[in-house]
Amino acid sequence: MGPLGLIILVAIFLFVIIGSIVLPFDFYHVPQPDEINFVGRGPAWGRPFGETGLLQLDVLTLVVNGGKTSLAIGFFTAIGSITLGTLIGVVAGTLGGKVDSALMRLADIFLMIPTIFVILVLARILQGAHGGGIWTLIFVFVVFGWMGLARLVRGQVLAIREMEFVEAARALGVRPLRIAVRHILPNAIGPVVVSAPFIVGGAIISEAFISYLGFGVDGATPTWGNVLSESAKFLQQGNWWWIGFPGLFIVLTSLSINMIGDALRSALDPRGAK
């Protein structure tokens, strides 16, 4: 399933990147409202994904430009959470003792807080202050997304730290920092690699969910979630293409990412493979 997932994901990427270059989105460019088509127009030649109701925007343009933002949120969130989580995990696992306890209790606290609620509130507060870019959302996702990885990495580090080759490295007089970076980290990285795709998928879905509720990226920047949010108002008018295409892309993206993640998991853990 891994190769298929990769093909789908690459296809989505190319589609989104090329599409957003060919069909740029301009917030201030609104087609002249046409009373007859106020309720939206279905897919046809020239507008394969149809046209939205209300402002009569091209859905294809919204999907490719929204995809650019959504994918960016997903990948930068993954990069951020993985960096932060791995760093905290390695520090906690290597130093141990009080540092370890403090960091793990911090992780517990962050895990205890109902994340969605905090994300909603925090996103709104930060959006107010900074004008609501995608970076505030990524920041919030990273701040509330490192704990699982930190625990995972710490557990790995604790196990690897006791292995003989680490003792052998110490017996060679290798510095602790180098032991952590060169000996322990590369051996602990497996679970991180496996969880990376799931973080990307999770962030894309969270963005859609939060934007749907109207607390995400502001309306001037389309994201898949934003588009969904708008479309719901016109669902009763039969505008299935408006909600359908961005929804399809969200589903395809997270499906392909999960396929890749599963393939990575079985590749890195032969015992778990069927």
Partner: protein, 342 residues
Amino acid sequence: MKRAPQGAVIEVRDLNVSFASAAGTVKVVEGVSFHINKGECLAIVGESGSGKSVSALATIGLLVKEQATVTGSVKFRGDELLGKPESYMRKVRGGGISMIFQEPLSALNPVLTIGEQIAEGIVAHGRGDWKAAHLKAVEYLESVEIAQAARRAKQYPHELSGGMRQRAMIAMALAGDPELIIADEPTTALDVTIQAQVLELLRRATRERGTALLLITHDLGVVAETADRVAVMYAGQIIEEGPAAAVIRAPASPYALDLVASIPSYERRGKGLSTIEGMVPSPANFPSGCRFHPRCRFAVAACSAAVPPLEPRGASRSVRCFRVDEIAKGARPTAKRKGGSK
């Protein structure tokens, strides 16, 4: 112990190691003393759990400080190592004293190439930059008789055979140009046919460089082939010490006697293998008096009353046994052994 000559590479005196456990502190090593001269090989033999590996780890300060309490004295080149800060020990480890581990597959990092792991020790002790160290690593691999060293240096541990991995470990140990190498059961994980080669290589490499070798093993065959002197450990104490050939030919303490008797030999073919009844006691409840007395064939009442001291016997040997003179004169065993040879 007597006559630790001037210029011994390492001199360990009255080493005690205890571990904190749920049941209180457990003394695993008690009053261990030994020294090794330049180019000499001392073997520490003993059963599993006799404290031989712990003694070695304590010597280079690799026991976890929160768990183990180490007292006594470890003098390396006349320099006291116990109580030295970690930064100082790091310079000693690999540079002054290096270690060879039992299982090369687990003692080599699976994600680093052999060459990089050897080079690491060279760089860590400031004996060259990475580029030079990689070249040196290939030389060291050649010196441990690994064919196509340049190619092997670029390979990962799983691509090498067991014997080759242990040679690579030896190369790693040599790379820091140490004055003492501690080899903790270096041949246990190896094929019998490879064992002799690896031992021979290790002995030759250390002799040529004048490196002292502390060989930890449970195999008396290894001792006979390799060591100059041997210290027999039992339950955390040295029970007999002396030149390897003399101790194996004519063991003085009952434990060493039984240990030597348990080696299968051609002369005793057809007879059952000789064993020592019972098990090494757990450090949590060592017996009173001589720690070997519950298993000893020659034990008398006095043996359970007091711990016999390690006393010099002749010019070069020492023995820890109250009845050593009587046994030497041919005392009969006091207890009949149930199994083994009659």
